[in-house]
Amino acid sequence: MSDAPAEVLPTEEIDLAAANQIIDKFLTLPGNLMPVLQGIQDEYGYIPRPTIDLVAERLNVYPSQIYGVLTFYAQFHLKPRGKFIIRVCVGTACHVQGAERIVDTFFDKLHIGHAETSPDLRFTFEKVACLGACGMAPLAMVNDDTFGKMTVQKVEGIIADYSQRPMK
């Protein structure tokens, strides 16, 4: 047993009105926990702590159960995410065409690892298994823009381009 004091997390202040609306929408649907969480994530960009307590109370499930679901599925995020989400495909076809080096180059240039977000909340980097455009392998995406037939040389240009875009 360590006698260090427990870490106290700062509580987030967020507007719960939107979350309440989402819960209202799915209240009577059987198996509504996932759609509610997906809706909340669409709204806030991640799952803020206060919304977990709210969902637990209103859907009558334990917070632990909600955490169980949140940590099981890759889609849910418990921390705020960057404005530009860079996703590099590491599916089979992209892997065979050398996706690893694209990933490594992004790591080197952005100094953030898989599923991490830069401190200024500009970039989030993710490796994903198959974005489904295997004909264009290797593939990278920034938000909804697709970059096919990626090379190490192209990485720098992409980062430069999105570094200059406004954050608003």
Binding site: F72, Y73, F76, T92, C130, A133, G135, G148
Partner: protein, 593 residues
């Protein structure tokens, strides 16, 4: 959309097409047609239609121009800059642009195939109910309700010999009859569209290209089994598929093709989309049901099988997208017609997603029984860059490798299993001499270990232990006993795991050891990667005998580490090299080791 447009412009807009810029091409066509007033001259006779994926994703954006004078002409690699030209030359002057036309191989690619499931994909507008009805849409469900009893529908499907296209290959008619025989009036139907296998995208293409045929397939199944509620479980990573399917469902509700008393025929069927949230294991049926119920997607032991006790404890029937897409064709054309396609044990067609080091990547639908060699060489044009074929990985993370010596294996369930691979979801990843088989095994195991749900010990701990060994081998720290350990563990995990994910996860390793043991041995004994692929084992130097002094490596290097002059052998400066391996891929002669 006008009914009598004489000129049709079909623009391929699957995910592959859109990532190649199909949206821009479409807007450009629409803009220029408005601007040039082609409509004004000859009434509205020009239709720009977006379609689903046509299969040859490597050549997107594909555009078909159909005019009464010239018939159908296909252009590939179309960019917005080409559009004005196509309109002027082809549509106004009636002379196709030979330079932009798809090369003869496009026709070879199409002609070698047998399109059954994908008949609508790439030919019709996925958002248009009218277009689907014109293609005999909903004729099959009408035939079922008006002329057949539910048991007759099941018999028809049994007779056709259709087997589950999710990869398991269980006879579909049998599955339906189990669920139909279960007592109770509340039953569920689920369409499994959680296509988590990296490198397979046929389910998504069908959903994006012809969503109505899935709805119809599910209606027929629901009628046969006697259930009134269906879910489609789609991966959240497929936004376009979700959007198009949702749109199709909404239209069907609006026009009375879904809901209560469909078309006044006294048959009810409701359906909704359930979005997955990114877990490969949710493709396993029991995990999928847990996920719909809002739990962690963990498999449970079977029996009880879903047909007896499934979603919310009620009898449930689960089929894959491609299985449902086959159903309407079986009803429309008859079981005998369907049974005449394919081999003795595998009837009908199968869609393969052919990717990797092959000339024409894309979706290929062929009659079962064609050999793997024909699929790769005849349909997809063989290996890219004149390299040597090494193996093809079939069936994704649960499948195995097919080396050159068994390339003549026909593509059906049983022959592929005999060859040490499996049909799986139908991903075929082609590999050439620069692909290291140990690395491929490591890649698949990394994936399955990440996606293992962790419920049972063999899968949770066994896969991790196997992965550690493989990582050691690829980093040059392999031990002599490693291969035997891998084989032993693989066999145990196959036997002892709870669900299909664990039971098949060792397959990539077992099959690569079986066919490419010498590569493992080279890594372990000689600390060398024969394919020049595993980073830790590379020497980062140019082999002077093999270098043809072409300078391709210089162009590829992002960090100026290659020193090369015309007519001289290249030299690699290890100080500057960032070990990104760009030069390895650029070199056609394996001259860097």
């Amino acid at each position: 959309m006008s009914e009598n447009a004489a000129i049709k412009i079909l623009i391929c807009q699957g995910t592959g097409g859109i990532s190649a810029g199909a949206k821009k091409v479409e807007l450009e066509f629409t803009r220029l047609i408005e601007e040039k007033g082609i409509n004004a001259v000859v009434g509205k006779r020009c239709d720009v239609i977006k379609t689903g994926c046509r299969g040859l994703c490597a050549n997107d954006v594909l555009v078909d121009v159909i005019t009464p004078e010239l018939g159908r002409v296909t252009y590939d690699f179309v960019v917005p800059e080409d559009v004005a030209n196509i309109i002027d030359e082809h549509i106004v002057n009636n002379t196709p642009i030979e330079k932009k036309k798809a090369k003869p191989y496009y026709n070879t690619f199409v002609d070698q195939q047998m399109r059954v499931v994908m008949t609508g994909c790439g030919q019709i507008d996925p958002d248009s109910l009218e277009a689907y009805l014109e293609e005999d849409g909903f004729k099959a469900i009408e035939k079922c309700i008006k002329t057949m009893k539910p048991a007759e529908v099941i018999d028809e499907v049994k007779k056709s010999g259709l087997r589950g296209r999710g990869g398991g290959g269980f006879p579909t008619g049998m599955k339906w009859s189990f669920c139909a025989a279960s007592p109770g009036d509340k039953k569920y139907l689920i369409c499994n569209a959680d296509e988590g296998d990296p490198g397979a995208f046929m389910d998504r293409s069908v959903l994006e290209g012809d969503p109505f045929c899935i709805i119809e397939g599910m209606m027929i199944s629901a009628y046969a089994i006697g259930c009134y509620y269906g879910y489609v479980y789609v991966r959240a990573e497929y936004p376009l598929a979700i959007q198009r399917l949702q749109h199709a469902i909404d239209i069907c509700y609006e026009k009375g093709w879904l809901g209560k008393n469909i078309q006044g025929w006294g048959f009810d069927f409701d359906m909704r989309i359930k979005m997955g949230a990114g877990a490969f294991v949710c493709g396993e049926e029991t995990a999928l049901m847990a996920s719909i119920e809002g739990e962690r997607g963990m498999p449970r032991p079977r029996p009880p099988f879903p047909a007896v006790k499934g979603l919310w404890g009620k009898p449930t029937n689960i089929n894959n997208v491609e299985t449902f897409a086959n159903v309407r064709h079986i009803i429309n054309k008859g079981a005998d017609w369907y049974a005449s396609l394919g081999t003795d044990t595998t009837k009908g067609t199968k869609i393969f997603a052919v990717t990797g080091k092959v000339k024409h990547t894309g979706l290929v639908e062929v009659a079962a029984g064609m050999s793997v060699r024909q699929v790769i060489y005849d349909v997809c044009g063989g290996i890219a860059n004149n390299r040597k074929f090494k193996a093809v990985q079939a069936g994704g993370p649960s499948g195995g490798c097919i080396p050159a010596e068994v390339l003549d294996t026909p593509v059906d369930y049983d022959s592929l299993i005999k060859a040490g691979a499996m049909m799986g979801s139908g991903g075929l990843v082609v590999m050439d001499e620069t692909t290291c088989m140990v690395d491929v095994a490591r890649f698949f195991l990394t994936f399955t270990r990440m996606e293992s749900c962790g419920k049972c010990v063999p899968c949770r701990i066994g896969l991790k232990a196997m992965l550690d060994i493989l990582e050691r081998i690829t980093e040059g720290r392999g031990q002599a006993s490693d291969i035997d350990t891998l084989l032993e563990m693989g066999a145990t995990i196959k036997k002892a795991s709870l669900c299909g994910l664990g039971q098949t996860a060792p397959n990539p390793i077992l099959s690569t050891v079986k066919y490419f043991r010498h590569e493992y041995e080279a890594h372990i004994n000689d600390k060398r990667c024969p394919s020049n692929c595993c980073k830790e084992l590379l020497l980062w130097q140019v082999v002077e005998d093999k270098c043809v002094k072409c300078g391709a490596c210089l162009k590829a290097c992002p960090s100026n580490a290659i020193i090369w002059e015309k007519g001289k052998v290249a030299y690699l400066d290890k100080e500057k090299c960032t070990k990104c391996k760009s030069c390895y891929d650029a070199c056609r002669f394996m001259a860097i080791e």
